[in-house]
Symmetry: C2
Subunit: 296 residues, 2 copies
Amino acid sequence: MGRISVVGLGAMGMGMARALLRAGHEVAGADIDPARVAALATEGGRPVEADTPAQTDILVLVVLNAAQSRAVLGGPNGWLAGLGPGAVVISCATMAPDEARALAAEAEAAGIDYLDAPISGGAVRADEGALSVMAAGSEAAFARAGPALDAMAATVHRLGDAPGAGSAMKAVNQLLAGVHIAAMGEAMTLGMAHGLAPERIVEVISASAGTSWMFENRAPHVVEGDYAPRSAIDIWPKDLGIVCDMADAAGFDPAVARAALAQFRAASAQGLGDVDDAVITRLYAGPAGVRLPGEG
Amino acid sequence: MGRISVVGLGAMGMGMARALLRAGHEVAGADIDPARVAALATEGGRPVEADTPAQTDILVLVVLNAAQSRAVLGGPNGWLAGLGPGAVVISCATMAPDEARALAAEAEAAGIDYLDAPISGGAVRADEGALSVMAAGSEAAFARAGPALDAMAATVHRLGDAPGAGSAMKAVNQLLAGVHIAAMGEAMTLGMAHGLAPERIVEVISASAGTSWMFENRAPHVVEGDYAPRSAIDIWPKDLGIVCDMADAAGFDPAVARAALAQFRAASAQGLGDVDDAVITRLYAGPAGVRLPGEG
């Protein structure tokens, strides 16, 4: 079994670390929040510092974005300098393909293999070792990452040997997912404003051409009035921001994704950043005078 | 078996008339296009005039919108005046709930039952007698419409006894469906502009959280470069226009649906109104310099 370090112990990283431990790996964990590192330690994970590379074969990097990924990897005291030959970085943060390519080139220059490997599936599936991974990298990177991917993922979509393709596919997914969540909020509000019961909307739409994975996952949060954050609003200004930047770079205007981005930014500005993203519905329901389930 | 008239023999109405004939009903058909009426006659349907009510127990109204529905039903020579007592109107056009309520009231005043019954599923399912119907109306209206619904629909969502609820649910569905189609076009373009093969995007996204019924149905049209109209662009300026008007009336701004509406209007203005709605992708791919499959 390999020595694996997980840097970034949010809901996703913690779940992935647990899945790695269950598979029998030696797991070290690092996070800026010592409470998370301590929590992992109670389950058998060795505490390490994010800025101090541990003896490790596989580094699973589950931080927020490209800047944090670079901060962990780069510089004279970074993990790229500290990892030994034969190590591989599995980079899971959502970032622009250009950023992924740049980090991969730096890893390669340091003699480290790099897998551009954004993840999808949410915290529950992370805990189950059942994530989807959209991955691109060399044969060697895939081979070295294999033991960790086997433990963490139900599906590994192999997107070729050029880093950047994983991040591009993740951006495609996030464009759709973010738009679908905002559209869910608009649709639920439209129906309720015109007298439909929210649970009936979920029932009928889930069986109709208007359905989406996100509608079926998030609309029940609205019906139950339960906005405990499974996935928070603040993911979307970040991820749809990357999407819109990528579209700008490609020379086209993703008008629908841009409209969704504006809605999530507005929700964040209203102090809803840490709340479950289904709460986007409130942005529409408020002006419409629609009282959502669970609201006073 | 009942005497049923189908007014409006587009792809949906023709499929519905065929399903009714197969179920053993006496079917009369009317359309502004005599070729369609003649086509139905070759399959056993009796030609009638849209402006001349036929002896009929059930009128299935599958015209384009509320204005056409009103033109068929109303006035001294309209079908409401010509239908006998005990008849029922099954109104399938997408329209605002207010319009549905107004037509229902006029029918009631004429002693005719009225089912607010928009349909979903597309021409293929119409042909198979496997539509979804989102229906609201009195017990009597449902009972009288039963023989036709049994032949035409796989699923009848009963939404209560107040006409308008069927149209409201249809609007909720169309908001989502229209947004999802436009988002599909943006997502396919984003991925292709960043080097992903379109068939691989469809494969990965269909198994990911970004998927939708419309993505899985329409993105393959882009992959195949096949824009033979199964459902045309021009449906969306109409249906998303109704959606946005309904949201305005309710006092909220459906920013994402409004952005999608603008895209479909732009596509229609470019002469793409009669083309399959998956062609919305071209609006994004053009400026991005992305060559879609099947294009020169």
